[in-house]
Amino acid sequence: MSVAIQTIAELRGVTKIFGDVVAADSLDLAIGEGEFLSFLGPSGCGKTTALRMLAGFEKPTKGEVLLDGQVVNDLDAHRRPVNMVFQHYALFPHLSVSDNIAYGLRQQRPRIERKIISAKVEQALETVRLGGFGPRRIWEMSGGQQQRVALARAIVNEPKLLLLDEPMAALDRKLRKEMQIELQNLQRQLGITFVLVTHDQEEALSMSDRICVMEGGRIVQVGSPRELYDTPRSRYVAGFVGTSNFFDATVTDASPNHITVQMASGRQLHGTPEIPIDTGQAVCVSIRPEQIALTRAERAAEAALPVTIHNRIFLGEHTEYLARNEALGDFLVLVPRQAELNEGTFNAGEQAFVSWDEGALLILEK
């Protein structure tokens, strides 16, 4: 995690209500200078509203939006030193590529000299690898190229915050991968703070320094991709960041750092808590597929459960198995190629055991 040195933007208790819909509910978040932060969540979770309040398109119903330490609630979008890459780029169809990029610079008062503008535009075109495309018309550009024009149009203004609203949604998978890398490089190269909104966990995990997971207008957890993956606080976050196996359970012993839960089947398991836990509490336990070992012999591990193999999907570096325990239900197990070579391939209908190491079982909010 790259530690935020200085806060450049901040949401303080920000709430936004549209009619009777609470789109954003008391958001508190500090964005550090030079950071790459992503808002992650399904549609309607409030991530876009948060972004639009940073941009100045929406005014918070309650709370404060700060930029550079100043409350900017009443500052119109066109006065904020913030630029956005829109979901469908929103390029001006009546202007050429370079006129699109120069648009922001031309709005500045006092006016910037023409020569400087064209130099900056050229440079921005080079930065997004579109040198020579300046005189083109927007409709002559491919989707990927338009995306870069949109990017150039924003970064040429050297904004304090670059807001990206699902910028990759319209690109195909391969192009998206490329763009993800390019965006990351660009962010490092320019040192501009990036705030990305996405519903794609892979995109968020691969690019961000920090991810802010949202649900129903609230921020549910903020942290580095690794933190969110390893120590999710809720079933929602664990489910959204990567895949996991979830089971309902009740806490029977809430000793610090060592929790015992009882599964619906009556089986007792031990796990690590990510939240304060009381005895008797109904919780959710989570175990990541790649942390489960699949063996033919019962291992002397923390827990070993007998399962029947139901399905197998070969994924190259991994093989994904669906294994069923009579009492607990289905387990998704991800077996690395090497482990599979050691143990041999399991066939459907075969009997086997699943097991995991101490501490792999996470106790989460239900």
Partner: protein, 283 residues
């Protein structure tokens, strides 16, 4: 059937229609314009340029038309644009349909009847009487060019509002946000984004209204009291009253030629102004 054959088939009805309803009549008018008036009116075949030489006798009609048609177009545009802008951009969607219907409703009534209503509004017991109550005396509206202008703008407003509304409505509102995001004030956003992107609508609206105004005769007849004379009125008189078909044809041909010239200049101007692909949709 070949693609070409199918295309030909698609165009046949329109082609025939144009041939019978436009090309042939225009040809007839063209031929008539070189003829002479019969003793009891009508047309007698001849080849003479006399009718064209006599055109200056209708100079006032041409002058009035060429002043009031563009003026009416501009006035309609100045009123229609803000209205269309409000409907397309500002109006809450749940009100939009009813507001649009309100714009159309007057079209359900004949323009004749609507223009008659203006006789009473602009007549002595209408607006002038109202003005008298605040001390402004002896104002005359009815039977003046101003009254004709009012009638024109009123009658043709929907024709101007709709194309502009459509172009503003399909304008991607995110472009306005993008412009604001890039530091443009609302006014500059309007000038640099909204206005250029609505030129196709403006062009279509102006064209529709202008062309129709060039041939207008009803509103000047009703609200101009026969004193504000358009080419259309001259034509009605020539064909229905004095039945001088040859001269009428010459006047009509001249009007057609003037319209062709103005419209083609206008099209050139507009296509240069906009220059982006959507402008092809003009007309």
């Amino acid at each position: 059937m070949t693609q070409r054959g199918r295309n030909a088939l698609l165009l046949t009805p329109a082609g025939l229609w144009l041939l019978v309803m436009l090309v042939l009549p225009l040809l007839v008018v063209f031929v008539f314009s070189f003829g002479e008036r019969g003793a009891a009116g009508g047309y007698v075949p001849a080849f003479t340029l006399e009718q064209y030489a006599n055109l200056p006798a209708r100079w006032t009609a041409f002058k009035n038309t060429l002043i009031l048609a563009p003026l009416g177009t501009i006035a309609a545009l100045l009123i229609a644009y803000p209205l269309a802008y409000f409907l397309a951009v500002r109006c809450a969607p749940r009100w939009r349909t009813s507001m649009l219907i309100l714009v159309i409703v007057p079209f359900w009534t004949s323009i004749l009847i609507r223009s008659y209503a203006w006789i009473f509004i602009l007549g002595g017991r209408g607006l002038p009487a109202l003005l008298e109550t605040i001390g402004i005396n002896d104002v005359r509206f009815i039977n003046t060019p101003f009254a004709v202008l009012v009638g024109i703008v009123y009658g043709y407003l929907p024709l101007m509002v709709f194309p502009i509304f459509v172009s503003l409505d399909k304008l991607d509102k995110r472009l306005l946000e993008a412009s604001a995001d890039l530091g443009s004030t609302p006014w500059r956003t309007f000038r640099q984004v909204t206005l250029p992107l609505s030129t196709p609508g403006v062009a279509t609206g102006c064209m529709l209204v202008f062309i129709l105004l060039m041939g207008e005769f009803l509103i000047p007849a009703i609200l101009g009291g026969g004193k504000v004379f358009f080419v259309g009125n001259a034509l009605v008189d020539l064909f229905l009253q004095s039945r001088n078909w040859a001269y009428g044809s010459a006047v009509a041909m001249t009007l057609v030629i003037i319209m062709l010239i103005t419209v083609s200049i206008y099209m050139k101007f507009i296509s240069r102004l906009g220059g982006h692909r959507d402008d092809v949709s003009l007309m």
